[in-house]
Structure formats: C-alpha cells, structure tokens
Symmetry: C2
Subunit: 158 residues, 2 copies
C-alpha cells in the first residue's frame, strides 16, 4: 500500500488542482450560458428604451418629459450594472452559443467599462430634454456610444 500510495496521491492532488483552476478561471457551462442570456436581456432593455426615445425624436410618439426622463434614466441604470455577474470569463464568442463578446472585454476591462460610462453619461444628458429636437440631438450622441462599444467589443453576427 505504501509503495503505491504516493503516486495515487499525486494524481489525486493533480486532478484537484486542475479542477480548482478551472473553477477559479471559468464557470460552469450553465452559469456561462445564463450570463449570456442575462446580457441579452440587458441589451434588449437598452434597445427598448432607445426605441422609446427614437420614436419621440421622430415624432412617432408625443413628446412627454416624464417618459423621456424615465427612458434616459433607465438606460443610465442599465449601463451602470455591475459586470462581475454578467461578463463571466469564458463567455466570449465561440465559447458559448449566442455570445458575440470579444476577448478584449476581458483583456481591456477598463476600456470596456469606460464605454458603459460613456453610454451612461450620454443617457443622463437626455434627462430634462426640453422638446422633440433636444431628444433627437441627445439620441445622436447616445447612438454614438452604442456604436463605439459595439465596434470595439462586439464580434460579427453568429
């Protein structure tokens, strides 16, 4: 027994270390898939609220300052959501179905966060917009922040 116990222990320890490393660096397949779905829900909500503002800018909905402020405030809140739960390592495009997240999201986390801060700033600038024209102008600036992030951190269509 003593003769064999050492290599068995080393193998067992090696497996335990490998499992721990995988756990620390990544997440379960389900956890990663769920995170991607939650990000899509986040983007869906951003899209909904930019749609409300876009409709107001185009005159397809009446200008309503309470609605504008709520839409802009909600976009800012969505831009401010914490990344730790949403942008799990191992959830990049190719690693999980539906993801278009580029690896730069993790290699340049500060740059990625800055894009969300830009979106938040542009959204908050729309709060208090005085009329349809102001919403249109603010929407242009907001749209630029969406585009800037997508160009840098979003991969091609799946």
């Amino acid at each position: 027994m003593t003769f064999f116990s050492r290599p068995i222990c080393i193998v067992a320890l090696g497996s335990a270390l490998a499992a721990t490393t995988a756990f620390a660096a990544g997440h379960s397949e389900k956890a990663v898939a769920d995170a991607v779905k939650a990000r899509h829900a986040q983007m869906q909500m951003v899209g909904y609220h930019t749609g409300v503002l876009g409709d107001i800018a185009k005159g397809e909905r009446p200008f309503d300052s309470a609605m504008v402020d709520a839409a802009a405030g909600n976009i800012a809140a969505l831009a401010k959501l914490e990344h730790a739960t949403l942008w799990l390592e191992g959830s990049e495009q190719g690693a999980v179905e539906g993801s278009r997240a580029k690896s730069e999201i993790w290699s340049d986390a500060a740059g990625f966060t800055a894009k969300f801060t830009d979106m938040q700033t542009a959204a908050l600038a729309l709060v208090g917009a005085a009329d349809q024209g102001a919403v249109g102008a603010g929407m242009g600036a907001l749209g630029e922040t969406c585009k800037a992030c997508h160009e840098t951190f979003r991969g091609p269509k799946n």
Copy 2:
C-alpha cells in the same frame, strides 16, 4: 360651402379629440407589446441574479463576495428602474399577449412601487454578506419580497 363646413368641422374636431384621448390614455399596440417584452427582460435579469445568489446559498457555486455584491447590487438597480416606460397603461393581462400584470398595478401605483422598494431594500441587505449562510438568510428575505409582489400584482399563468 359655408352651409356644410360647420358639421364637417365638428366631425373632424370630434375625431381629433377622440384620437387624442386614446393617445393620451393609452399607447399604440406595438408600444404596449414592446413594454411587456422589456418587463420580461427585467424579470429575466432579476431571475438570473437571484439564481446566482441561490447557487451560492446552496453551495453550488463558491462563495465570492464580489459576485454576491454585484448580484445584489444589480437586483437593487433593476428594482429601481423607472416605471413610466415599463408599466404603460393598457398593458395589463388580457389586453396584450404575454402580460400577467393585474390592473391593481395602475389603480394602486403607490402600493406597486412600494413592493419594488421592498425588493431593493432586501437586495441591498445582501451586499457585504460575510459567507454562504448570510447569503442564504438574505435570499430568504429577498424571496419573500418577490412573492409578496407576485401575489398582489401578478395574475394567473396565461
């Protein structure tokens, strides 16, 4: 022409008033359907984050204070989203596909907002949870707030 112009004007004015009233009280069919989808995305995100916390409470994910704080903070932020864009009048159950919103959401708007405030408070209480047990306890309290709102303001399954 003068003889006919008055009734025509009255009819036209009547139509314009009717259209304006419908527009002010309600929203386009598409606007209402989009709001319901956005609410579902909001609830999906809340569900995702409570799932993360639930997994930690059950020991299915390792306790990680950064993850707990992010999940709790995001739930609080989602609970705080402005209602004006999401809970459009005319988007109650029966009026639009997929909705389970009870009419009490609009007849008791203050009570409805209070439920979201309760959720926010319970979520924020989880920030800084010291260990798995604390997450479990906090999750119990958070779950109660979900249940309380659903019991009062959510209709039966469609």
